[in-house]
Symmetry: C2
Subunit: 457 residues, 2 copies
Amino acid sequence: MFDPVEKLKEFVRHPSISADSKFKAGMTGAREFVAGLLTSIGFVVEVVPTDLHPIILAHRSGPAHWPHVIIYGHYDVQPADPLNLWQSAAFEPEIRGKRIYGRGTADNKGPLMTHIAAVGRLLERRPDLPLRITFLIEGEEEIGSPSFPKFLHSYRDRLKADFVYLSDTGIPNEDQVVFTCGLRGLVLFDVEITCARSDLHSGLHGGVLRNPIQAVSELCASLHTPDGRVNIPGFYDDVLDVEPWEREQLAGLGTDMEKYRQFLGIPAFHTPPGYTPFEAVRFLPTLEFNGIGGGYQGEGTKTVIPSKAFVKISCRLVPNQSPAKMRELLYRTVRERVPADVTLRIVDQHEGTPYVVVPPGRSNTPKDQSPVLARAFRSADKAVAEVFGRPPLYLREGGSVPIIADIKRILGLDSLMMGLFLPDDNLHAPNESFHLGVMEKGMRASERILEGLASGA
Amino acid sequence: MFDPVEKLKEFVRHPSISADSKFKAGMTGAREFVAGLLTSIGFVVEVVPTDLHPIILAHRSGPAHWPHVIIYGHYDVQPADPLNLWQSAAFEPEIRGKRIYGRGTADNKGPLMTHIAAVGRLLERRPDLPLRITFLIEGEEEIGSPSFPKFLHSYRDRLKADFVYLSDTGIPNEDQVVFTCGLRGLVLFDVEITCARSDLHSGLHGGVLRNPIQAVSELCASLHTPDGRVNIPGFYDDVLDVEPWEREQLAGLGTDMEKYRQFLGIPAFHTPPGYTPFEAVRFLPTLEFNGIGGGYQGEGTKTVIPSKAFVKISCRLVPNQSPAKMRELLYRTVRERVPADVTLRIVDQHEGTPYVVVPPGRSNTPKDQSPVLARAFRSADKAVAEVFGRPPLYLREGGSVPIIADIKRILGLDSLMMGLFLPDDNLHAPNESFHLGVMEKGMRASERILEGLASGA
């Protein structure tokens, strides 16, 4: 078996920045590196072209009655700027203390290497393991996976499996693994309001017409109640109830409100009543203003009544809210609340479906849950408890990972998301690193998870 | 006497763009041209250096009991871009039909030439006219007259006079002269609201803290009532009552609401109750939003909770509102209406005092009005009626001309503002022009106004 840390260094040395076409060689290098590594542990590797960066598909086939797991990861990384803030070069991996530093070490090359090494070790030890494994490793995750849904549709038949397994989420500390069981969805749109046909002199015409900044402000101000809830009738109708076991799991995280408040740099939280900040961010939908603009924005002054103003709105959705239904409710509300004598334009932006997967044996576990998925969860629970010395937590998260909902929607598969990166791994930032202790325990846990899954076949 | 139209052409040929240092030669040329012209009609000319563009001061002295009028004008012009939209070159004056085309023809070289020519003719005819005249012609009007207040302070003793006479305002058509009797003032400031210490991911943190765009929107939305009034107790306390004669004068303007609505390109006016749009713009103060900004403003989306948002606010003030007092009221209101748990920063911007001068014989004419000013108004009324065939109108305007309030504040002088440019003169735009019929009648009227003023001495 290869040395996982040495191989991770090699992987990180390929500057695979998907957002920047100058790094095409880095993308190709990283892809060829992964393909070679998977070939070396016995996989049949296929590189699937897309409109942009090819997807690596690697199979370990077997009889149809063997369980089939798809292991997801991505070989692309974020840009490394600002380069001058790195203590060691972004693409020259360096081990300092318990950590390996370099762009992509935590997101996602380290966690992906963890699983490739686990599979390598496992298959070396048990070459006859009754488990079908497909690695699905894309190169566009950091730019929003634009080619991914089309690929899933085209390869639907080849991707019939029991579930998807991945590590692209976080854990609170090196001893506490978290399985992410829910993600928020998204609906995004812009509201543009036009009043006069052009910008007007505020002296010559001020006081006779509507100002679009005022109209946009009145709309925005109407969308929340003073206590922090979204002020749209029906907004919370489809929100999945929080089960007591979910609050218990969250309590196990040992969250510290005061530390979180200091991290945000705010004097006080502003959370809907009945929810702690840690609950609100996981269990409630939001309506946020991501940007607003109109009129003069420079230094000093310009005495203009602008013709136009806009606001960019995003809603995080939770299970079981539907992006299409929420979009309709939101647009209807905006239309009702904007004065009739202005010109309103609503611009669609993208959306994402919220996602939830409930581990077996919980109050709200679906009756028809796949037995292979249930077995994977049980195997994961046991393996993590043994290796990390503490049982994992099962938590929904506030963020959105659209590919997870895409996989559910297009392939019908749930995902087992084992967190591996730590809060201080500096993802997307200078001095990104991955904890080598977590990597080693992650490999051992992943090896046991897959072995446990297979042993039940 | 010189030919006023030929001299105007010569004046316009100097590209005196005060905003652009590349046009220094044009500024010098225009200044020397005016100085030469004033010398040629018998004035003692002095060029007063300032931090930027010198001011021309030209005197016709006389005994202290002669009335003393200061005629104000400016020799600088707006930039001429976009040059490709000009039918004839901006600085190659051309006569087409009844108009002379070129940058500065209407603002302010044509009206200024009108008065210089009127004075020239008058003094040629009556070399012993008992009238002291001072021309005060600045070169920074189009960039906000930054050197002007300092100059007024320094030259206070040399500028003791009875009133100021100028033409830098408009008239509705070539037969109807308007004397501007009031201007709105200004108070400008920015409001900045900061919540979190940096921009935050709206998935990871959405739903737990205040969004500064929301806080700014709630502030903005609170500042008006649905019927279009400013929603600040005390905002209208010092507003000067509109006298019935003012509404009558305005009615004489023959304003057309429907045409105005179409010009603005709005489906309906939004004017405080009890005021027509034409009244509101002249007689009421406003609170306008000139610009708003925060978060992401580009194409597409960025799911961020911004750290900061701002709005730029300007209030037009009317007599007798004090900028300092209004600023205090506005800041107190903002502080009261912004939630306590955000960081508020109010940034002072500039201000201007509103101005009003009441012609003699009106219901609200001050008892202590200067007899020379009163005589000037009467002379102007008679001269305009005779020359234009229709009595002038006396109207307050919605715009602000800070130098008029500066002159009142620093020199204690009122201004007689005779409008001469037409709505289609394209001030500050391509194809600026000045109507030669208005110019000729303006010269005759101005000559009679000054003669009438002197004859009463």
